[in-house]
């Protein structure tokens, strides 16, 4: 089988935010909002806020506080994602990947990498990207839009499956 080449793969800031935003919301956003809602309602309740007065007013104030917290949380998450992008020069450089039965070879102006398939724990589909997981919070982003002809996305998937990688 011919090696599959992905030339000049580059992760833009917009792509990186688009990939990470749903992950951070799913992993931390909901649970944090739930915990914070619990604390806010408990504090209001123990303060006697719900004992007297108009229910619409009580609900309105509670929701307004929760909405403000959600906006703040979202802002902090976005800032963290942007900071992560800025502090990873490796990701900002265009890189060429060469995938063969022997393993993965990556070449960029900052890095040359040889990775055996055994070091990949799986592959994750993130938007249009294929993310090869190589460790906790570590991996390689493959952009199928940068595949060099005649290889197709189906060939890429076939190679990944043939190498025993599971889609996580």
């Amino acid at each position: 089988m011919e090696p599959i080449i992905l030339a000049d793969v580059r992760m833009s800031r917009a792509d990186f935010v688009a990939i990470n935003w749903p992950i951070i919301v799913r992993k931390r956003g909901w649970i944090n909002m739930l915990l914070m809602s619990g604390v806010v309602v408990y504090l209001f309740w123990s303060d006697g806020f719900y004992e007297s007065g108009y229910w619409l007013y009580q609900a309105g104030i509670t929701l307004a506080v929760l909405a403000a917290m959600a906006i703040l949380l979202g802002y902090l998450y976005r800032r963290a994602i942007n900071k992560q992008y800025d502090s990873t020069p490796l990701m900002q450089q265009p890189a060429t990947y060469r995938l063969s039965v022997a393993g993965i070879e990556k070449t960029s102006s900052l890095q040359r990498l040889e990775l055996p398939w055994a070091s990949c724990q799986g592959v994750r589909r993130l938007g249009r990207w294929y993310f090869l997981v190589t460790g906790p919070q570590r991996g390689e982003f493959l952009d199928p839009a940068r595949l060099e002809a005649p290889a197709t996305e189906a060939d890429l998937r076939a190679l990944l499956t043939q190498q025993g990688l599971t889609f996580l």
Binding site: S87, L113, Q121, G135, R138
Partner: protein, 169 residues
Amino acid sequence: MTIVIPQVRVDFRRYLALSLRYSFRRKPLMAVLLVPWLTFMWSAGALLTGPTSVIDVLKQNPLGMLFMLFFLLLPVLLVWGTWQQYQASSLLLNPADYVLNATGVSVRGPAMNTDLMWPAFTRADQFGSWLLLQASEQSAFFLDLQRIAPPATPADVLELVKSGGVSVH
């Protein structure tokens, strides 16, 4: 000048200690968490040895009890999370050889072979005889300065890292 650090492997206890020290260095505000933690640990101790029963406190102050439980479990969760991270990283589990020269760092091991230019690194942190070289926010290469092949010394390594334009903290 080429410096070789052969067969570097970081064991879990060292990894945990270095991760904690790194976190406290980067986020000194984390130390603030120690205050409620110690307070809750102290009150948990007082509760278990004192005359008030746990059930009474649970009735009077359920949220406080929940917080106490959370703070009691916090160290367990922290160690568990770090253990999961450690086990998932083939780079940490296998010994690797590091070769440093004027252009960058080469990592040779069963998990990966890679050559990284100095501009790929964002910072370096020294803790005792260990140097953490960071190429991204979440992960670092752990260099054991005690294993440097003679005649090179830890000072030579730090000199090389600095001349590569990486700030050493």
